[in-house]
Structure formats: C-alpha cells, structure tokens
Amino acid sequence: MDEKKRQAQALAARVVFVIVVLCIWEYVAKSGLMGEKSELIFPSLESIGSAFIRNFVEGYAGISLWAYIGNSMRLLLEGLLIGILLAFLLSGLSMISRVFYDICNLVISVFDLLPGVALLPVVIIIFGVKPGVIVFLVVHAVLWPMARNVLDGFLAVPRIYIEGGMNIGLNNLSLLFGVYLPAATSYIVSGLKVGWARAWRGLISAEMIFGVASCPGIGLFINQMRTNMNNAEMYATLVVIIIIGLIVQYGVLSPIEKCTVKKWGMSR
C-alpha cells in the first residue's frame, strides 16, 4: 500500500513538473521575451505539435519520418547485436585466457576513450560512405562499455558460486553459461543501459555529420530541418528521439531488469 502511494506521488510530481515546464515554454514563446527571434528559438507548442504531425505525414523530400526512423533503427539494431555479441565473446575469452584478458583490458581502455565521431574520418576512408559505417560506429559505441561491464561482472562473481558450480560438475563453457552469466546479470544489464545510450547518441551524431542517401536516418532528418530553418520540425524530431529513448528504457530495459535481477532479489 505504501509502495503504491509512493509511486502515485512520484507520478504526480513528474506530471506537474512537465506541465510547469511546458507552461513556461509557452509563455516565453507567446510573450516574445527573447525579442524578434523568439519564434525561432521557442516555437509555440502548437507549431511544434503540428510539425510533429507534419513530420510523419509529409516528412522531408517526400519521405515520411517513419522511414527515417525505420532506417536508423535497422542500423542501430544491427550494430547493437554485433556489439553485444562481440562484448560477450571478448569477456568470455578473457575469462578463459589470462593473456587474452590482459590484452583485452588494454584494448577496452584505449577504445572506450575514443569518441566514435572522432573515428569517423578514418572509417570513411576505409569503408567509404555507406550504411556500414554507421553500423561500425554503433558497434564501437556499444562494444567497449558493454565488454568492460560484462568483464567486471564476471570478475565480481562470488567464489562460492563458482565452487558450487564446479562441485556439481560444471566446467569451462558450462560454468560460463551456468554460473558466470547469470551471476553477472546486474552488471550485464547496466552494461546494456550504458551501451544502448552510447549507441543511440553515436548513431544520431554520425547521421548528422554525414547522411547516407541510400539509407537516410533520423539524424539526417534533423540536420535537414536545421539547414532549412524548420525549427518547429527540429524540436518535434527531438521529441521523437526522446520518445524512442523512453520506449527502449521502459519497454525493453526495465522489463529485462524486472524479470531477472529484481525477481532474484539481486537488486532493489
């Protein structure tokens, strides 16, 4: 009962906060507080709203925003999948070989510090301007934080689980899947969170810097809106980006947490 009350309170506080922010926004937009540029900097909520709809109905260059979103999500998913698999592969191998672990640690430390967009020129020289470059950057964004987290998770597995696992006949691969992976789940989930956020940002930055005509994405869309001074559309696209982020957070990541670490009492 108390928990429900607290949740209701949290929800109410958030709703009130959002309404207040929107009211201030609308006031600034309508009152012309920022001078003659007011309309550009703070387009009114109605114009953002209608731009939101226009984005999906008319879109840009005759293509609806849906198509841009679809393209982005496809590249993102591809990159995420490859990145996550590679992260597990690297951390798994690191647990088996000490030499591999040492090298892997160095590689992770080095590449984790390199922003994806800084690599962009090099990657374009190597691959050319293709959707593959974006996938590459997504992989780069997700792989290193994810590998770091999974590895830390493996190293933090209590010895008693490992010994318990060995005692009941697990070894090498079966120990990895039977004990290390489930025991490191909370680390893996937090790696997913960081990895997903980095990938999403990396994707949009890459698309804004260079759009691939054969596969135009949401970053390209927002950049075109900027170029054409369609500021209301630009804000509306930002809203879309936020909404997608929230959907992934509450529709994918939270449920994963709920039916693993929360259910097992490994996290509150």
Partner: protein, 253 residues
Amino acid sequence: MTKNENCILEVKNVSKIFDVGTEQEKGVLHDVSLELERSEFLCVLGPSGCGKTTLLRCIAGFEDYEGSVLVNGAERRKPGTDRIMVFQDFNQLFPWKTVEKNIQYPLKIQGIRDKAELKRRTEEALAMVKLSGQEKYYPYQLSGGMKQRVAIAKALALKPKIILMDEPFAALDAMTRNELQSELLRISMEEKCTVIFITHNIQEAIVLGTRIIVLAEGGKIVVDEKNAIPRPVTPASEGYGATWERLHRALYQ
C-alpha cells in the same frame, strides 16, 4: 587396494602450503592421513587456523595439494558430485534459481531429464529437511536457516558418496542451530550417509559425530575416537561430560 573394504575415503599424506615461494609462505597441512568408513559421521574439531577447512577443501578438490585423496580407491583431484560440499555461507544457493531449480539443476547436469523423477527427488529431499511446499521461493526470500536446509537438501538429492560440511550451522542463532542439528542427526541415521562435518563447537561434534577427531596446528590429528555415547546425545547422556572434558582439553592444550 585398501585393507578395509568398508573404507570409502582415504586421505594419504596430504600437505598444503599456501603462497609457495613467497614471503607469506604458510604451511597449513603437513602430511595428513585419514580413512573414513561408509556411513560414518566424522566430526572434525580444531582451533581457528588449524587447517580444518583447508583439509575439507582439499578433499573436495577446490585446492591443489601434495599427497592423494581416494574415493573408493580411485584418486580424485578435481571437484566432483561424489563429494558434495555444504558451505558455511548462507549465499551458497544460486540466487537466480528457485529452491526447486537449485535442487534440480545439479541433477539435470548429471543427466536426469525425466520431469517426474526430478520432481520426486526434489520433494523427497525437501521433505527430509522439512521444507515441503517451499519449492517456488527464491533464496532471498528465505531465512538463513532455511537456506542451509535447502543446501543440505540439494546435497542429499544428489545422493553423493560423501557430504562435506564446513561449519554449515556456525552462523545460525542457537535455537535454529539446535533444531538443524537434530534434523541432520535424524537424516544421517535414516539415510546412512557418510559425512565429514567441520565445527569448532564441541557440543555439536558430540551430538552429531559417530567419530570425532581433533586437529591441532598443521592439521596434526591429536584425537581420533569413536563416539560411544548412545544417540540421541543430550548433555545428560552418560559419558557426555567426560567426553566434553577430554575434547576440550585436546582443543585448548
């Protein structure tokens, strides 16, 4: 092979030195030998740091050591399901599995796939530790005593040749501890399982053990005797006081 055909476990000249070749080099076990008979309940007493746990971990195969450990005459170096360990730590159950799955998982690894058989063995084991009906709980929902019961049930379900217990009740409150002692005593008498039980509680050793040994520094066996007091043992049993005195003196000499 062995002189005594009732012998299930042989520990032959086991020595264990930690941090070999470093400044912290520390010899814990020196040339320890021991034989264990089928259905014996061996209680190992000893002061902290005497090597009781190390000896048990060597038998379980968790440590490298010199010498040899033989189960039914065959050498064992690695952990295996013929020697199942019950730890002192309450957190030895896998938190991501329910009570039921914690018990069934090792059975599945042993190749038991039949659902009905798995269910039957789980129920049987849980009934033995008086936890029937608690199958669906996750470990974090159980008390310390209940977790230890599940750990014992898990060991029993596997029907190992030897159960190794490393002070499983040491972190429990006195009441739960007494309760679990009598449960374990009943189970060991009914199931005729072979147990090595580490403790530094003299009362526990006398109540549970059919044989008691006392280790001194370096794993030297200073007392090795059959527990002649008829079970169930209470402090009022004949000979309890004298045995307690004798063990106490050996422990604190």
